[in-house]
């Protein structure tokens, strides 16, 4: 058990506990906070996987934008949510069962597969490379552009949808 293992375990605990907190919490605001915690854990994973920029992006976007957005939404719909309201719907049991089963199946598969691990180091100029592959024409410029269009559309759409009539 190297230190990586320990870090990994700690990070996965953070992520998983955060996730559990999201879905199990009775109060919505707490769910949002737990969500942030989970995002941080995932960011840690990225660092451990030597995807430094991605970890930063994760923190920036997920925590800084999405989680904040969610918290805003919660605030805006505050009157509706009272602590003693029902949290779960009618199908929570089958839902839970399905999730557990799915997990079991996935774990069963994942553990058994002989992953063809390819040894190799991440190049030192990974950030440059990442930037270049995002915008290079034999890279991923198209998805990049499409994603940006998507963002624009989502922006416009969200504004329109949430507009006061």
């Amino acid at each position: 058990m190297t230190i990586q293992h320990v870090v990994f375990i700690i990070l996965s605990a953070i992520a998983l506990i955060g996730a559990l907190g999201v879905v199990l919490s009775r109060r919505l605001f707490r769910s949002a906070i737990f969500l942030v915690l989970s995002f941080v854990g995932v960011a840690g994973f990225y660092i451990l996987l030597e995807a430094g920029l991605l970890a930063m992006i994760q923190l920036l976007i997920y925590v800084g934008a999405i989680a904040i957005l969610i918290i805003f939404a919660i605030m805006l719909s505050r009157q509706a949510m009272v602590a003693d309201d029902k949290v779960l719907n009618e199908q929570w049991a089958p839902g839970g069962l399905v999730a557990v089963l799915l997990l079991a199946a996935l774990v069963y598969v994942l553990v058994q597969v002989n992953w063809q691990v390819v040894e190799g180091a991440v190049p030192p100029d990974s950030i440059q490379r990442l930037g270049q592959s995002l915008v290079s024409s034999n890279g991923f410029v198209l998805p990049f552009e499409v994603a940006s269009v998507l963002l624009l559309v989502a922006l416009v759409g969200a504004v329109i949808i949430a507009r006061e009539k």
């Binding site: 089963l101 799915l102 598969v109």
Partner: protein, 722 residues
């Protein structure tokens, strides 16, 4: 011989009037003139051919006697199970004689009918053409009867005449009378048919027994010596041979058809029919068919020596002759007097046959046809005249004051002699012709009736004196002679009564006062028949009897000649005396002081006897009570039983069963199965729909769950496989 050629045409004779019937019915019904001529031509052709055949038969009489005759000639055969019935025609001298009389008298009546049914006047009968069709059909029946060579076709034509008699008696079927005791034409037709039916059944039984015993019904075969011998010697029961049984049964048919006691009741009531019908059926033809039948089947009657069948015939004949004569005395209806006279005269003929006086019987048959037809037609002419007189009279003036009798409430009866009188002055042709017929009927020398009646009486007397024919017991001839002589007395009396009441004195009513003479189509036949009535007798004079030459000399019917009856002056004298005596009494009561009132002078002296005679010995009432009502009651009971106990439950049962079946079907098939199926489909669909609907919750998490579950299942499937 070319005579054979003509003899072979004999079967055509009945077909001429049959064709006339068919033509009138199918085509000329609306056209009265055409119908008349069609009928006249039909019977006219039959007459011409008939007289020709008669002449030929007479000429070649020897060749037509039974053993050597070429006849009968078979025409076709009817398959009857295992055997065949041969149907054909035959010609012999008896047939020839009938062919002399029947078509000619029919022709006279046909001509007479034109005037009687008021052709050309406004009173013309509405069913004029139909009348001519019927009488043509009837003529076919009679002519077919006399040319038949076997009992089957004879019976068929016999029945055909019965049918026509019914149709013609009831010709005015809509006529109704106020007096409920007076029989209507419709009822009279039924009565005639039913009573003769009884006779017909007896005859049919006789025919059936004959067929069973001999296997044939053709005359030639029945009358062959072997068959006759067999019939005479095989016994039906006890000591009675088949020949007797069959002969008596066949005579039963004759009793019905010729209106002898006890089946005589239909004939007087048959007078409700038009007078030409009375003349045709009840004088000339149908009633003489019974006599013809016995004459034709005479070998059967004489097959047994001293057999009872002849005795039966003689007794019934003689009895009826006297019996009917007594009734005729008290009848006021002119036609009924003549009807009873006919019954009486037929009795004469049967009595003659019963003692073996074959030739005399047939002679009287022929002669009687002529003068009886004349008398009936004459009476019709008189009735016609009185009716015409009535129509030209004021309604009040037709009934004068009477003492004793009152006619209140009764309709004016043109047939009633009490409404006549003094008609000789008004209708001379009719009157004198009628008187000629009357003289013939009563047997006054030299009219025809004298010769024919006298021959019967002579034969009877001779049989008693010198020995009978055919083994007849001696009692019968003298019995017959006595009864018939008495009957002759009565005949003369009632005939005289009739003549004096109708033609002598003064008219008792306005109608009679104004009665016109009849039209030529009616009077000419009267004249012609009067001539015949006067001179026909000369052909039967005993010392030169053509009748004997025809019938007896060569053994037409029997296979040997019949001995010739001699003239007996004593008998002739007695019969003439008796006839004159009858006329004298008649003149005394009715002619000397012609009747001014309508009370019959006989009434008081005879007292209750008169009532008995007038009501015909109450035999009709007796039959009604003893036979008719029980039978109708039985029929009604049977019908009620059948209807209520057999048919109603059956029909109701069928109905109920049908309903039960349908209800059961509804309950067990329709509702559960059919409805169940149909409704079930609906219900299943609805349930399925509801079920399917429940999946559409509108909640997306549900849909998502389903999708995830599906994926999970697929995963598990793949995992399990690997």
């Amino acid at each position: 011989m070319t005579a054979n050629f003509f003899f072979n045409l004999t079967w055509l004779i009945p077909l001429f009037p049959l064709a006339a019937f068919a033509i009138i019915v199918l085509w000329t019904n609306r056209n009265r003139l055409l119908s008349t001529w069609v009928a006249w031509i039909g019977i006219g052709l039959a007459w011409v051919l008939g007289w020709f055949i008669f002449w030929l038969a007479g000429t070649y009489a020897q060749h037509l006697t039974a053993p050597v005759s070429n006849y009968p000639v078979p025409l076709f055969s009817i398959p009857t199970g295992s055997t065949q019935l041969q149907v054909g025609f035959q010609v012999d001298t008896l047939t020839g004689l009938m062919l002399f009389m029947v078509p000619f008298v029919c022709l006279m009546i046909f001509i007479y009918s034109k005037g009687y049914m008021n052709y050309g006047t406004e009173a013309v009968d509405s069913r004029y053409s139909r009348f001519f069709a019927y009488i043509s059909l009837f003529a076919c029946g009679m002519l077919g009867l006399v040319v038949s060579d076997n009992l089957v076709t004879l019976f068929i034509f016999w029945e055909l005449m019965g049918l026509c008699s019914y149709l013609l008696i009831g010709f005015w079927f809509e006529k109704k009378y106020a007096d409920p005791n007076r029989i209507t034409p419709k009822q009279a037709g039924l009565k005639a048919f039913l009573v003769t039916r009884i006779g017909d059944i007896l005859m049919l039984s006789g025919m059936l027994l004959l067929y069973v015993q001999t296997g044939t019904l053709t005359f030639k075969e029945i009358f062959s010596p072997d068959v006759l011998h067999k019939l005479a010697t095989t016994y039906a029961f006890g000591q009675v041979p088949w020949a007797t049984v069959i002969a008596v049964l066949i005579f039963g048919g004759a009793v019905g058809k010729s209106a002898q006691f006890p089946l005589h009741v239909w004939l007087p009531d048959a007078m409700e029919g038009p007078t030409p019908v009375s003349a045709l059926i009840h004088a000339a033809t149908m009633v003489s068919a019974g006599v013809y039948l016995v004459a034709r089947t005479f070998p059967l009657f004489v097959a047994v020596e001293g057999g009872t069948q002849l005795a039966v015939v003689a007794f019934i004949g003689a009895f009826t002759a006297l019996f009917a004569g007594t009734i005729a005395l008290a009848q006021n209806d002119i036609k009924r007097v003549l009807a009873y006279s006919t019954i009486s005269q037929l009795g004469f003929m049967f009595a003659a046959l019963g003692i073996g006086a074959y030739v005399a019987a047939v002679f009287h048959l022929i002669a009687h046809a002529f003068f009886k037809a004349l008398l009936f037609m004459g009476s019709g002419s008189v009735i016609h005249g009185v009716e015409h007189g009535r129509h030209h009279t004021s309604p009040e003036g037709d009934l004068r004051e009477h003492e004793g009798h009152s006619h209140q409430g009764r309709e004016f009866d043109a047939n009633d002699m009490m409404n006549m009188g003094g008609l000789l002055r008004r209708m001379p042709t009719t009157g004198w012709a009628f008187i000629a017929g009357a003289l013939a009927l009563t047997g006054i020398f030299p009219w025809a009736g004298f010769w024919s009646k006298d021959e019967i009486l002579a034969d009877a007397w001779n049989a008693f004196m010198h020995g009978t024919e055919f083994g007849v017991a001696k009692f019968w001839p003298i019995f017959v002679w006595a009864m018939l002589t008495l009957a002759a007395l009565l005949t003369a009396f009632y005939t005289a009564r009739l003549v004096f009441l109708t033609f002598a004195g003064r008219p008792r009513t306005e109608a009679a006062h104004r009665a016109p003479e009849s039209v030529p189509s009616m009077t000419w036949p009267l004249i012609i028949l009067a001539i015949f009535s006067t001179f026909l007798g000369f052909f039967g004079m005993p010392w030169a009897s053509q009748f004997y030459n025809l019938l007896g000399k060569y053994g037409t019917i029997l296979n040997e000649p019949i001995p010739h009856g001699e003239f007996n002056a004593l008998v002739a004298g007695i019969s003439l005396f008796v006839a004159v005596l009858g006329w004298f009494f008649g003149w005394l009561l009715y002619g000397r002081k012609p009747l001014a009132e309508t009370v019959d002078p006989l009434e008081k002296p005879l007292g209750p006897v008169y009532a008995l005679l007038k009501n015909r010995y109450y035999i009709d009432q007796l039959y009604q009570k003893v036979i008719v009502r029980p039978v109708i009651g039985l029929a009604g009971a049977a019908y009620a039983f059948d209807d209520r106990i057999v048919i109603d439950p059956l029909v109701d049962g069928v109905g109920r069963f049908g309903r039960w079946v349908s209800e059961a079907l509804k309950k067990f098939v329709d509702n559960p199965i059919v409805d169940g199926a149909v409704n079930g489909v609906g219900r299943v669909t609805a349930w399925f729909g509801e079920f399917m609907r429940s999946t559409q919750t509108g909640q997306i998490q549900n849909y998502l769950l389903v999708a995830v579950v599906t994926v999970l299942l697929l995963m598990i499937m793949f995992l399990a496989r690997s």
